[in-house]
Symmetry: C2
DNA sequence: CGAATTACCGCATACGATTGCATGAACAGA
DNA sequence: TCTGTTCATGCAATCGTATGCGGTAATTCG
């Protein structure tokens, strides 16, 4: 208590290197940052400093640079749930690109809640980073403005509904893909009663997918039966419960569409447990095409998104802004979804 | 270029709050850190400061505190591959505990490589954090010493082979569980030829599991056939290839054990593709009990580990050290593995 | 040989927040 | 009225690094 002492004693600082090499601290800094052109350092001195750095095992402290307003060498990523396999290829792609630039990545889960998203933004305000990758479900333009104004970070977003002049966006044509998938289900496959396992309207994506679903049925001239609309929360177990609900109906559907694969897999589990054959008695269709979609039997018919490609694009766009190679208006990049016809529908 | 300007202009600092409230910056600090007892702040002043903080929307800058040697409010986590479902419950548990303490979590993948692990340690030296969670495959005692000496961070490790006085360790009795699982396979199930899908001996865990496997066969009085030992790299596709190798043998095994579920699932895929029935013609067994083990058909017989419990324990132990509630010798916590008999063996 | 460059390098400051110490006011007791 | 005490607040140093500016030695040129 007498000395502050700090939690993190840094063994060797730039000052130590300077002292050991018999130069000033600023010289060490200039040798290491290597700002060529402006200030020159004698070759002899440079060598001596570099040797001292190596022998002492010195590493620069990134906290100091962050405080000075330099680069933080850090990215923050906001996703709904690291447990959902859909995010893995995206997270991996972001981490890999970041790693190539010698950046670290901080990851936070929101569990699809708006309070989770708000906490994330505050956490980035508290600890500014160079770049932010978001998969938002609730944030509105004001939130993006606040984030950018308060941190100065580059921002890249996954989602269809974001439209902000300074953020780059990658999105899939998932509404249209969903529309086509349902149309295929009713027109080609002749299903007249299709159940939906959706999510609450709090999620903008939930609203959009529901509308696309309804529109597809309408265009096919089918009646809309509210009993066929069930709600899940993106998890496997919620899909299981929703399917049980549909099975218990007086007149159950002949096909079920879930707005993500996790719920579709849960639904299939429930349907098979009830002794109902998939797809003969009840077809099942998902969305995302997670790797596990081909692990289940029957293999899941679904709509593929390409999270790895999306993640790579997001991170690359971010670094172009961070490195100052681009600072124009927000760019948009569409990744086309694709129907994967497999065995479950 | 004329002004340094910095990359991250901080909109509102403590100085701004102080100015707006008509007090000194240190007073604002004292109001916010709320060091009760030692220093008193007048109630009137305190209220005025708090109101100003709220109206300006001020948040403290964590980089500054980190530099001063205060808490960084950040954890670093090193895992092999975020794409492996085994890690998800663990990562989620760590994130959840961290979130309760208002901490952020940085996550890095090593892909089981030693260079990846070394880079992670260096990255933590560069940007010290309060706590580090490791799932190492290569690190030795000297690396832990270096990490602790250079950062002063609390360290918690998952794995059986770590023994360091200052790090807390959680481990499963996986060698023994594996031994029992194989014994069950050969004694109860009567398999005389069991193939192994293992990993290279570079991974300490690979060595251990291989030994346990061999020992089980030996005690059952079975001959050791080197042709039955194949190598994978923990991924599904490598399991697929390894199984193809076993199938191509003049005398293929009647059972296959993979040292993780991902490879077991890949193996099952290959076996079924070859038209061989699981488990009638060839049994398959995995290790980990990832959620997806029950998604495949037949459901995978495997040995369960409890990554969520492990993650929770690791993070909790870490915070006990960070908060100074514990600073004794390294603690050890064993999580018992359990054989999950399902349909594939 | 003296002056003007040029090439190197150090000093001092700033980033934002914490904290030991000093200072000032108010107040009580003598 | 003077001194001592308590309470509330301000001043300034500090963490590690980057950088504008000023200073010194070496070199060149007239």
């Amino acid at each position: 208590m007498s000395k502050p002492e700090g939690l993190h004693k840094q063994a060797v600082t730039m000052r130590d290197v300077a002292q050991a090499a018999g130069v000033s601290q600023s010289t060490v800094s200039r040798v290491l940052s290597g700002t060529e052109g402006s200030i020159l350092i004698g070759e002899e001195t440079r060598q001596r400093v570099l040797e001292t750095v190596a022998s002492l095992g010195y590493f620069p402290n990134l906290h100091a640079g962050s405080l000075r307003g330099q680069k933080t060498r850090m990215l923050a990523m906001m996703i709904a749930d690291i447990g959902n396999p859909f995010y893995h290829p995206m997270v991996r792609a972001v981490q890999d690109v970041a790693h190539e630039h010698r950046y670290d990545v901080m990851i936070a889960n929101t569990d699809h809640t708006s309070v989770g998203e708000r906490l994330f933004v505050e956490s980035v305000i508290r600890r500014p980073v160079d770049g932010v990758i978001l998969v938002p479900y609730h944030m509105v333009k004001a939130d993006f403005d606040r984030l950018i104004a308060r941190t100065g970070a580059a921002v890249a977003v996954l989602g269809q509904h974001i439209d902000h002049p300074q953020v780059d966006t990658v999105y899939g044509n998932d509404d249209q893909a969903l529309f086509e998938a349902i149309s295929w289900l009713v027109c080609e496959r002749g299903h007249r009663r299709v159940g939906l396992i959706g999510v609450t309207n709090e999620h903008s994506v939930g609203v959009r997918r529901r509308s696309a679903f309804v529109e597809a049925l309408r265009q096919a001239g089918l009646a809309i039966d509210p009993a066929l609309f069930t709600l899940g929360d993106w998890t496997e177990s919620s899909g299981y419960r929703a399917a049980q609900q549909l099975l218990a109906l007086p007149e159950p559907p002949t096909a079920v569409f879930a707005v993500n694969d996790l719920m579709a897999i849960g639904a299939m589990e429930a349907i098979q447990s009830a002794g109902v054959q998939v797809p003969q008695q009840m077809a099942v269709m998902g969305f995302d095409d997670i790797p596990q979609a081909t692990w289940v039997r029957p293999r899941l018919t679904t709509v593929a998104q390409y999270p790895a490609e999306m993640g790579r694009w997001l991170a690359t766009a971010l670094f172009e802004r961070i490195r100052g190679e681009f600072d124009g208006a927000g760019r948009r990049f569409e990744v086309k979804c694709r129907l994967c016809q497999r065995e479950s529908a």
